[in-house]
């Protein structure tokens, strides 16, 4: 039980560091740590398939994409302007108001039952595969079309236009 609270503290701590780090590369590294704590949460919930997919897709693919983009576009001090102080205060205040509203609406529900694992095989690949290919077969195929169109769109967007010789990269 105390494992959950320790990992929850770590995920909140690292996610605060993500948005407060000055250097974007540090931000990405803290985001990797945050996603690692989420993987531990999934393991604690016995969602083993999601833990492995989170590890591979988020920490392996998406964050490498972020790092490559960040290194490709060569940030320096001039391209990282800071917002004025009042805007920062307003941003933190707005996020805090959202958090307080959600938490206080949660208080109205009252005490909740503990999360008990009724079916130990719930998050395993075998069970999830049965659900995925029986009930969610059409969304699964549509998501493959989505990924294909995203890939084609990304290639089209990032390809340099050959008719413009004055592109700066």
């Amino acid at each position: 039980m105390s494992t959950f609270y320790f990992i929850a503290f770590l995920s909140i701590f690292f996610s605060i560091l993500v948005i407060s780090a000055k250097n974007p590369v540090h931000s990405i590294l803290y985001l990797i740590l945050t996603f690692f704590t989420f993987t531990i949460h999934y393991i604690l919930l016995n969602a083993q398939f999601l833990a492995i997919v989170n590890f591979i897709v988020y920490m392996g693919a998406i964050l490498v994409l972020f790092l490559y983009t960040l290194m490709l576009i060569n940030l320096n001090k001039e391209s990282e302007p800071v917002k004025p102080f009042m805007v920062k205060i307003a941003a933190v205040f707005g996020g805090g108001v959202l958090a307080v509203a959600l938490v206080s609406s949660l208080k109205l529900i009252g005490a909740s039952e503990p999360v008990v694992l009724k079916d130990p095989g719930l998050g395993l690949v075998k069970n999830l595969g049965k659900v995925l290919f029986n009930e969610f077969l059409l969304p699964f195929e549509v998501s493959s079309v989505l990924l294909l169109s995203a890939m084609v769109g990304a290639v089209l967007l990032a390809t340099k236009d050959p008719k413009e010789p004055k592109a700066t990269i």
Binding site: F4, Y5, S15, I16, V18, I19, S27, I28, L31, F38, H41, Y42, I43, L44, L45, N46, A47, F49, L50, N54, V57, Y58, I62, L65, F66, T69, I73, L75, S79, E80, P81, K83, K88, A91, V92, G94, G95, G96, L98, A99, L106, I109, E113, P114, V115, V116, L117, L122, G123, L128, V131, E135, F136, S143, L146, M151, A154, L157, A158, T168
Partner: protein, 109 residues
């Protein structure tokens, strides 16, 4: 694995909702706070992940596997969104030599 999953037996569902709320709010703050477009994207990833964790907790709580399938779809969606979004950011950087979102204020109003 059995002894590991026994550690969650006493965590109330409210605490999972609380954790997800806090991380979602941190993501909202990051979107409002930063001007670097890539950091804004990372804050959006934080929000998506907090919802993923909440869906998984609900799925375990109800004993229904559909929630974890939804998380799988959200992950596929996030991968597609990041690919297209980072391509757009690279294109903006090529045209304006900056990824400051205030350059894009022609989209305002």
């Amino acid at each position: 694995m059995e002894s590991l999953t026994n550690t969650i037996q006493a965590v109330p569902l409210n605490h999972y909702i609380l954790l997800s709320t806090i991380i979602f709010s941190i993501g909202v703050m990051g979107v409002l706070l930063r001007r670097n477009a890539i950091v804004i994207f990372m804050s959006v990833e934080l929000m998506l992940n907090s919802v993923n964790l909440l869906l998984t907790a609900f799925s375990v709580y109800r004993g229904d596997a559909a929630g974890q399938v939804f998380v799988f779809f959200i992950m596929a969606l996030a991968a597609a969104e990041v690919a297209v979004g980072l391509a757009i950011i690279v294109m903006i950087y090529r045209n304006t030599n900056s990824i400051d979102i205030n350059v894009l204020n022609r989209l305002k109003w």
